[in-house]
């Protein structure tokens, strides 16, 4: 549980608010973050941030107001002042035409299962040494330069409200290592990504092996420019995670569906959307994700299917959308989730995947993916790291930057195979506060009829 010094302050402020008849939600966030950035095969920057944040939301009938603080929070006076500001904001607010849902932490939760002291205290020196091993092993083998980053740290989240004495607490560690190898003359780029909850999830040997496995095809073959039009594509972990999160964002958010903005707006639960092999769920019990046990309203999160064997099952409702449209919140006041693209039956391993694919484009990364037409689920993004042509079940050439512009329903309705093995892929964004997020995705996903609409001259 949260250290008693700050916990006592928060509980005192909560109890004072209750005595004053104020309905308030208190959320506390603390992070210890560190990061090294690599550039030109060296550490370009090493950072460390210790930050605490307090967020208070006050409910005044149909009016709400928020106030947040990123500061050194050490006194009750600071909390009282923040509460007053949130109360003032609520008082001055415009009333909504629906009754907002005031968070009541369903039960006390104390979850530190995802915390690894080894990852929290992983030093910049240790990170640098691992990166140095990779650089010193691979760099002499060609005209290569390395860049990358390695973020790691711990996050504590604590929630309590004036509705009860319950407290929800979570402490976890997470990290993400990205190493990029760039060939200086030919300009192709390879990357190796590792993510996880423990210091054991990061390995120089694994990174070296992965680079070494990819290099021969890149070194021996010129860039391949594919023809425009429909192609068979084998996606990898990063590109599947991009498709998964885009599909959820544009198709399975309750607000988008209610307001007819997403590609499922013409559908209802029970409709067939995708191939039989596609199952998508939010699963806080899955071992490949960071397992958020409660949302920011204190709702206990449970396994929540969105698509089962291609059939539309349910939508995600945050509390504001649920209140506005008369639905029940589904535990998704979290901005993200523990999303899972379920594994299939394809033999494990990328090597097995390419044999299965036969002749195809391997696009394991999609760069800068975006939605030109969310109502159709149309997305566009270009290949980047590690993209290769597959001919006769073998990698035969690196691919120049190749753009896919297609719709999510089309791609996920032409699934040929889904790998039987899943991997954790860290999708945490570090804009603002540390917010660990990972998805569980199959090692590969093979789809037919994927539309290629542009091919660049270079990588």
């Amino acid at each position: 549980m949260l250290e008693s010094r700050i916990r006592d302050l928060l509980c005192t402020a909560r109890d004072e608010a209750r005595k004053q008849g104020i309905n308030a939600e208190f959320s506390f966030h603390r992070e210890h973050s560190s990061l090294i950035r690599l550039g030109n095969s060296a550490i370009a920057l090493s950072t460390h941030e210790d930050l605490t944040r307090l967020d208070i939301t006050v409910f005044d009938g149909r009016k709400t107001g928020d106030y947040g603080l990123t500061s050194d929070i050490t006194t009750l006076e600071q909390l009282r002042d923040a509460l007053k500001k949130a109360s003032d904001n609520a008082q001055a607010a415009l009333p909504k035409d629906y009754e907002p849902i005031f968070g009541a932490v369903e039960k006390t939760i104390d979850d530190s299962g995802g915390f690894d002291p080894g990852l929290e205290s992983l030093s910049s020196e240790a990170k640098g040494d691992l990166c140095a091993r990779v650089v010193k092993t691979i760099k002499p083998k060609g005209n290569y330069d390395f860049s990358g980053s390695w973020s790691s740290g711990s996050t504590e989240m604590y929630l309590t409200t004036t509705a009860s004495k319950n407290e929800a607490y979570r402490k976890l560690t997470d990290g993400r290592l990205v190493l990029v190898l760039k060939e200086q003359d030919k300009k192709w780029e390879l990357s190796v990504e590792q993510g996880g909850k423990s210091a054991r999830d990061f390995s120089a040997d694994a990174a070296i092996a992965e680079f070494e496995a990819m290099l021969p095809v890149y070194e021996k073959n010129p860039g391949y420019r594919t023809a425009l039009g429909s192609q068979r594509v084998m996606f990898g972990a990063q590109s599947i995670s991009q498709l998964l999160t885009l599909a959820i964002w544009s198709g399975f958010g309750g607000r988008g569906w209610e307001e007819k903005r997403g590609f499922t707006s013409g559908n209802k639960p029970g409709d067939k959307l995708f191939s039989d092999t596609v199952t998508i769920l939010d699963d806080p019990t899955n071992h490949n994700v960071y397992r958020m046990p409660f949302d920011f309203k204190g709702i206990v999160r449970k396994t929540f299917p969105l698509v089962e064997q291609g059939v539309f099952k349910a939508l995600l409702y945050d509390s504001a959308t649920a209140a506005k449209y008369g639905r029940k919140p589904t535990g998704h006041d979290i901005g993200s989730g523990d999303f899972v693209f379920a594994a299939g039956t394809g033999n494990p391993g990328i090597a097995a995947g390419r044999k299965l694919a036969g002749d195809a484009l391997f696009i394991p990364h999609l760069h800068y993916i975006h939605l030109p037409d969310p109502a159709r689920g149309m997305f566009t993004g270009s290949s980047r790291f590690n993209a290769r042509r597959i001919s006769g079940g073998e990698f035969t050439a690196p691919m120049v930057s190749t753009r896919i512009t297609d719709t999510i329903p089309n791609v996920l309705s032409h699934v040929v195979a889904v790998a039987a093995k899943s991997v954790l892929f860290d999708v945490s964004a570090t804009y603002g506060r540390r917010a660990p997020e990972a998805v569980s995705v199959p090692e590969y996903l093979i789809c037919d009829n994927v539309r290629i609409n542009d091919v660049a001259d270079g990588f």
């Binding site: 990061l35 950035r37 550490i43 370009a44 930050l51 500061s71 909504k96 040494d129 980047r384 570090t430």
Partner: protein
């Protein structure tokens, strides 16, 4: 300077001296004495966001043995520990050293910057701000409008900066952003939208009075409603090559993504590869690369009323105004002091001499990186939008981004827009929905053949440029005229 700031200044100066004694070639500190923000959003009349936030703390950098260390804390009693942490980080970074990081020779700067402000939005009662937004929301209501959105976002930052060279500067930056948008499903049941962002001519003040100036904001409500109505009845843009005229509401993004980001020196040198990407520009191309047609003149400008104007960057260097692209030739890049020596070494000649004053960080807990300031296109001499339309045989006019996807080296792009107007034989004929266009950066800018005159120039604000690891959201501006590009791939083949 408040007593607290004076105390921090004393502590920082003592620590900077200690870092110098410890062998550091450079050290600096940024105190965010106040970083306030307020975000208000009405959807369909409901106040869905009513959020105020305050951040306060200090970030310090230390350069030792050619390696950077950074640390940040909100604990202003813990400044020595913060410097110690930054020093330890620099020593860790020095264990794997490449091209030594070098600040070059700098001279001390002293001074203050204040954003031009009439009415500070943080001094305006919340009730008054909400009443204004409520009226704006009401003006968007119409039978054909399914959803209405009105947002306002205010920022106020009081930042103090010190470094080993004796620089002591402070800046008080204030930003005001506003947006209105209407949405409705078209006849196929697919959502269409039309929006307007608070913008202006780059002059004047940037307080609450900017948002309440009808010409800059609320008077656009009738236009966006009317254009949404046209979109609902419009066909999708058929795919083929044609000329494209970018209104400033779309052109700013073209500039941002294919000139601004491509010319950030840290991207050029490969420091952003693992996240944001690289650049098709290499250091040796500076001064030689033909980036676009002779009509193209791009600059890192100082615009009086823009979020990209800040007086002093986050290395304390006074902001300056300089050309990036001169008559189509790349002549400079966006830089801080850190990377100049490396760029020149890699180019094999001197390609950059002075900091581009583009070292910027978004918060006390983020280190400065090379970022856009005001990346502007100089006005041309091709007249008004209607003058350009008159000379267009077969084209479209497009406005406002819906989507943007760019190659990792900024070499190719795909943009979706809210609306297109067809131009045939020098006349606007009809509206198209779901317009998109895509192309390759150098070919596209090489096809620039009409640049609107000064009366078409408009300052567009970007409140949410993302870059860096840890990620940083930055505010900046783009001033630009209307532009026409020949023979561009448009629309999506079914």
């Amino acid at each position: 300077m408040s007593i607290t700031v004076q105390k921090v200044a004393r502590a920082v100066k003592a620590e900077i001296a200690r870092m110098t004694q410890a062998g550091c070639s450079f050290a600096d500190a940024r105190l965010y004495d106040e970083d306030s923000s307020e975000y208000l959003m009405l959807q369909d009349g409901n106040l869905e966001a009513n959020t105020a936030r305050l951040e306060r703390g200090i970030g310090v950098r230390v350069l030792k043995a050619g390696a950077w260390g950074f640390a940040a804390t909100a604990n202003l009693a813990g400044i020595p520990g913060c410097f110690d942490r930054a020093l330890a980080n620099s020593l860790a970074a020095a264990r794997l050293l490449g091209f030594p990081r070098d600040m070059g020779k700098g001279k001390a700067s002293k001074g203050s910057y204040r954003s031009p402000v009439g009415k500070d939005p943080f001094e305006v009662p919340l009730k008054d701000k909400l009443e204004f937004l409520k009226r704006a929301d009401a003006s968007l209501a119409a039978p054909h409008v399914a959803h209405r959105f009105v947002t306002a976002n205010f920022q106020r930052r009081k930042v103090f900066y010190w470094n080993t060279e004796g620089t002591e500067v402070d800046r008080w930056q204030l930003n005001t952003f506003g947006n209105m948008m209407v949405m409705a499903p078209d006849k196929e049941g697919r959502n269409q939208r039309r929006s307007h962002e608070l913008c202006g001519d780059g002059c004047g003040t940037r307080g609450f009075e900017w948002l309440t100036d009808p010409t800059c904001f609320s008077a656009n409500a009738e236009r966006v409603k009317s254009e949404l109505a046209e979109l609902l009845a419009a066909p999708s843009l058929p795919a083929r090559r044609r000329d494209v005229i970018l209104l400033t509401g779309m052109g700013f993004l073209q500039v941002h993504e294919t000139i601004g980001h491509a010319l950030e020196l840290d991207r050029i040198l490969g420091y952003e590869l693992s996240f944001a990407g690289g650049s098709h520009v290499r250091p040796e191309m500076i001064g030689r690369l033909k980036y676009g047609s002779e009509k193209l003149n791009a600059r890192a400008g100082i615009v009086e009323n823009s979020p990209g104007t800040f007086g002093f960057d986050d290395e304390g260097t006074p902001q300056r105004d300089y050309l990036l692209i001169d008559k189509g030739i790349l002549v400079n890049v966006l830089s801080s002091r850190t990377d100049l020596a490396e760029a020149n070494a890699k180019a094999g000649r001197t390609v950059v001499t002075d900091s581009g004053t583009a070292a910027r960080s978004c918060a006390f807990y983020r280190p400065p990186i090379d970022r856009m300031t005001n990346i502007d296109i100089d006005p041309g001499s091709d007249g008004t939008l209607e003058d350009i339309v008159k000379t267009t045989e077969d084209g479209i006019i497009v406005d406002a981004p819906v989507s943007w996807s760019i190659g990792s080296n900024r070499e190719h792009f795909h943009f979706g827009c809210e609306i297109a107007w067809e131009v045939i034989g020098g006349k606007r004929t009809k509206v198209f929905k779901n317009p998109t266009y895509h192309g390759h950066t150098l070919e596209f800018w090489g096809a620039l053949d009409k640049v609107g005159s000064k009366e078409t120039w408009c300052l567009r604000q970007v409140p949410n440029c993302g870059k860096g690891e840890p990620n940083q959201i930055m505010e900046l501006g783009h001033g630009l005229p209307v532009m026409r590009f020949k023979n561009v791939e448009t629309g999506e083949k079914e």
